[in-house]
């Protein structure tokens, strides 16, 4: 897993910074590597998390309590410790904007921001996010005013079926504060963990670049 305390550069970093090996990269390769440790994570979480009520020794607790913020709102849930952050959002909080495409960290549809960094919500357990700030696609717009990326996605027709769109958007939001080079190729590399089977790829890149070229506020 990557170090979340890694300082972010000013965006003028060399292209290598967004290569698959870079700590901030969220490429498919990294997703896959992470996927293979998914079950290990699950075991770890079950081992270390304090049980809510004392089940008999040796048995997993039926439910654990976790509190985190989602789009600024404090949420406390009692969840099966096996519940992924993705399923907690979709099945427990009714926030179905975040999508399940593969449940293995290979498609990016479930991308959310956790404490400002993009993360695959299918690959992390809900109970690992005690005290975290989670941002989902439902939190991007301010009332009726769309986030500039949402607006750009519509203008550039950067979506078709719409199922990968939330993940593409959240990944793009995360990308904005990552050291990514200026070229289309840099963005393509940094977005390659987000699959789009309708293949709106060129339009997604156009939308992201349109927003990146806007004057900084």
């Amino acid at each position: 897993m990557t170090d979340s305390k890694q300082p972010l550069s000013d965006g003028s970093a060399p292209a290598e910074a967004s290569s698959p090996e870079a700590p901030e990269g969220t490429t498919r390769r990294e997703f896959i590597a992470t996927a293979t440790v998914g079950s290990a994570l699950l075991l770890e979480a079950c081992r270390h998390a304090p049980p809510v009520e004392g089940p008999p020794p040796g048995t997993a607790p039926a439910e654990l309590e976790v509190t985190f913020k989602v789009n600024g709102q404090l949420q406390t849930l009692k969840v099966d410790p096996r519940t992924s952050l993705l399923d907690a959002l979709r099945e427990r909080l009714g926030l179905t904007g975040t999508k399940k495409g593969c449940d293995h960290g290979q498609c990016g549809a479930c991308t959310v921001l956790v404490d400002g960094r993009r993360e695959l919500s299918c690959l992390s357990l809900a109970v690992m996010h005690q005290g975290a700030e989670v941002s989902t696609v439902e939190g991007l717009a301010q009332g009726d005013t769309l986030h500039p990326l949402q607006q750009a996605f519509i203008e550039q027709d950067a979506l078709q079926c719409g199922y990968c769109t939330s993940g593409q958007l959240m990944s793009a939001v995360g990308l904005m504060s990552e050291p990514c080079g200026a070229s289309d190729d840099d963005v393509r590399e940094a977005m390659s963990g987000n699959l789009c089977r309708c293949s709106a790829y060129p339009n997604i890149i156009a939308a992201i670049q349109q927003v990146r070229r806007l004057p900084k506020l």
Binding site: R28, I32, A35, A62, D80, R82, T83, D87, R90, E91, G94, L95, T96, G97, T98, K99, K100, G101, C102, D103, H104, Q106, C107, A109, V137, E138, L140, A141, L146, Q150, F153, I154, E155, D157, L159, Q160, C161, G162, Y163, C164, T165, S166, L169, D184, D185, V187, R188, E189, S192, G193, L195, C196, R197, C198, S199, A200, Y201, P202, I204, I205
Partner: protein
């Protein structure tokens, strides 16, 4: 028809819902008391279930039911499967036979997804194993003649004497091609939520390409009147063919909901999508071409095999393109299928045309090389001015203009004829091209349009938008016909309470539903005009109907546009809640006098690193002559998406089954490689303006699939031009170039 709204590059009307996460897909409904089901699959390719140990699963926390072949309810209409040709045979735990690895053999239902998933892992099964047929090549001797899918004619065609013409041809090429099994992999997994509203009424939230088709199937299978079944599929996260027909999970979710007496949600995992739903079958193809010394085709022979399951004789009709793509007097094409211990294949974006154009357009490139002629010139020389298969005129055809536009845009005249003759540093550069084609047809549909007293309109048609832009183009069409701003028109689709729309298949959605929507909207417009001129209190009273202009939700006099009133004023004064119109549309027999196809061309540049064997597509120029384009923005996305779908086919996509166990070994995105951002260059897409007065009333041809035809050949031809290596087996992975 004037075109103030139709033909405009309007933003997608469902765009805002989709970028805010509010578009609701099948798995995102939450009926009270919903339980979760998880499918258990067979682990042997062929055999009989001997024993299933389910007690541990049944005892696991939260489990409501474990269904196996022993206790699964019998389906009242299961015996009707074979009687109805449009319905595939499916396995849904009706017996203990295992016909492929990954077949559904049990279903676990629990109160949460986690508990159902865990309990499903505790089901233990023992089998009596039987010999399985797993390899296409090993089954050629027992192959069967290919049938037509669902009542279509079998693939294959004979005209003239191809054998004699081949023997006499001064120039001949003969080659065998292979395309692998491929999976659609829409981003949204197949999902169903089954709700029994009462013992005789069923609601299914489902991700599919045609709610009415699904309803027909389910009502038959469960012995219910069609009106007792409601299927809802408002937003579909991609289909590409694999959500057209029903699969076992729909049936299983419904059975489970009956058994546990609660709504049941069943979502396939990505891995399960490689064995519980269809795929494009692998093909073995042989193409023989004969030509004069000048390059005129004198003979075409195209034959081959595709795989199917033991359940259903689905055919990938790949020879059909060879029958009609070029002028040639002597043609013989035919196909056979081989039954394997595998799940049933199905339609996948450009079924037949995608693998068929790979083989045939590769062979044309081989012929050009044998003749030492430019591949584009060879195609121009053999252009079919009328449909050579049926002898009919084309309803319209702009292929030569597509070639011209692409060649100029691409800079084709700078191409050197010799392979391996273009370089950029270490990279070998290759330029290849191919023709694209897809037939145009339409089905039946009905629509309803309603202008409301508040000045808005609702237009309904139970068609499907899989991300194609159908919601948007239908809104444009209705708005223009009604004389309203598109912002005031709400399009409703994907629900069997709406008037029947067609199935989203064969690139036919727009051609099918548009005439019905236009006709319904026209009726409303006519009624509004009639109401106004007959109403003494209307400023338009007494005017002739033909002197009324309808624009922007307002009726006015064509002599004096200040004289008039809005729809809302008229309806409010008349104390009407709405004015309604209905429209029906079906193919007109007169359309059969013509052959209707969309045509196009792809020009592709590849860069090959010879030391590594890697192929990068660096440039694609595509032109399409595809009839009337209702929205160039969404249409461009459709073609671009189709092209990239074809890039995956060309370079990366391949489903592999274990040769001993028959289990899919590439059952996730780490092993099955669909194109990603970094694989895709900018794609230059151009629509040739084409007015087709014959294809259907609106001149629409359909653009969902043609983008995927020809592209794999264009890439393979470019790879040959770059390297001198002819890759006849997809995907073109690096091992084939080293």
């Amino acid at each position: 028809m004037s075109s103030k709204i139709i033909g405009r590059p309007m933003d997608r009307v469902d765009g805002k819902l989709k970028v805010t996460g509010k578009a609701q897909y099948a798995a995102e409904y939450n009926p009270p008391g919903m339980a979760y089901a998880v499918i258990v699959q067979s682990t042997v390719p062929r055999g009989t279930v001997l024993r299933m140990q389910t007690s541990e699963a049944e005892r696991a926390p939260g489990v409501l039911a474990v269904l196996t072949p022993r206790n699964t309810p019998k389906l009242p209409g299961a015996d009707k499967f074979s009687a109805v040709p449009v319905l595939p045979r499916l396995t849904a735990m009706q017996d203990s036979e295992v016909l492929y690895n990954g077949q559904p053999i049990a279903l676990v239902v629990a109160d949460t997804f986690e508990r159902a998933t865990y309990a499903a892992s505790r089901v233990r099964t023992t089998y009596v194993e039987k010999a399985a047929s797993l390899k296409l090549e090993a089954g050629l001797e027992r192959s069967e003649p290919a049938l037509g899918n669902f009542g279509m004619p079998p693939p294959g065609h004979t005209r003239g004497d191809a054998a004699a013409a081949l023997a006499a041809a001064p120039v001949r090429v003969e080659a065998s091609y292979r395309t692998p099994t491929e999976h659609h992999n829409p981003m949204e997994p197949h999902a169903s939520i089954a709700v029994w509203d009462d013992p005789e009424h069923l609601t299914l939230y489902d991700s599919n390409q045609g709610v009415f088709f699904m309803r027909q199937f389910l009502s038959l299978l469960f012995g219910l009147p069609p009106d007792n079944v409601r299927v809802i599929s408002r937003y579909v996260g991609g289909g590409f063919g694999c959500k057209a027909l029903p699969w076992p999970h729909q049936i299983m979710s419904i059975m489970a909901a009956k058994v546990v007496g609660r709504p049941v949600k069943l979502v396939l995992t990505r891995q399960q999508m490689f064995s519980l739903v269809g795929y494009r079958p692998q093909t073995l193809q042989k193409v023989e071409l004969g030509a004069s010394a000048q390059g005129k085709l004198t003979a075409i022979r195209h034959t081959g095999y595709s795989e199917t399951s033991e359940l259903d004789a689905f055919t990938e009709p790949f020879v059909n393109v060879s029958n009609m793509l070029y002028a040639c007097p002597n043609v013989a094409t035919s196909q056979r299928v081989v039954r394997l211990s595998a799940s049933t294949p199905t339609f996948m974006r450009a079924p037949g045309e995608a693998p068929g154009t790979f083989a045939f357009e590769s062979a044309m490139d081989e012929l050009a090389h044998a003749l030492k002629r430019d591949p584009l010139e060879l195609r121009r020389l053999n252009h079919a001015d009328k449909d050579p298969e049926h002898g009919k005129p084309w309803s319209s055809k702009s292929l030569l203009e597509c070639y011209r536009w692409c060649a100029e845009r691409f800079g084709w005249q700078r191409r050197s004829l010799q392979p391996r003759s273009m370089r950029d540093g270490d990279a070998l550069i290759g330029w290849g091209m191919a023709t694209a084609t897809f037939p145009a047809f339409r089905m039946q549909a009905s629509a309803l349009a309603r202008v409301m007293a508040d000045g808005t309109a609702v237009v309904q048609c139970g068609a499907a938008d899989l991300g194609t832009g159908a919601y948007t183009v239908f809104t444009q069409l209705a708005a223009e016909t009604l004389g309203m701003s598109p912002e005031k028109v709400r399009m409703e689709m994907g629900d069997t309470v709406l008037p029947p729309g067609g199935l989203a298949g064969g690139s036919s959605t727009t051609a099918t539903a548009s005439p019905a929507i236009r006709s319904a909207s026209n009726e409303v417009r006519r009624k509004l005009v009639q109401l106004a001129v007959a109403d003494k209190e209307s400023p338009l009273h007494g005017l002739a109907e033909k002197d009324i202009v309808v624009e922007d939700g307002r009726l006015s006099s064509s002599q004096d546009t200040a004289r008039g009133e809005t729809f809302a004023q008229l309806l409010t004064r008349q104390k009407l809640t709405h004015v309604e119109g209905k429209g029906d549309a079906a193919p007109d027999p007169a359309e059969q006098k013509f052959s209707s196809h969309a045509f196009g061309s792809h020009f592709v540049e590849v860069r090959v690193d010879e030391a590594l064997g890697t192929v990068r597509v660096s440039r694609i120029v595509t032109a399409m002559g595809a009839g009337r384009i209702l929205n160039p923005k969404t249409a461009r996305s459709q073609i671009q998406g189709g092209v990239i779908f074809g890039l995956g086919m060309a370079l990366t996509e391949e489903t592999l089954r274990d040769p001993r166990l028959g289990r899919v070994m590439t059952a996730d995105f780490a092993e099955y490689h669909v194109p990603v951002h970094a694989d895709v260059p900018d794609i230059d897409v151009h629509f040739v303006e084409e007015h087709d007065p014959h294809v259907n009333p609106l001149g629409i041809k359909g653009i969902g699939e043609i983008g995927t035809t020809g592209i794999a050949a264009a890439v393979a031809n470019a790879v040959f031009h770059a390297t001198g290596k002819r890759v006849r087996e997809l995907p073109i992975t690096l091992d084939k170039l080293l």
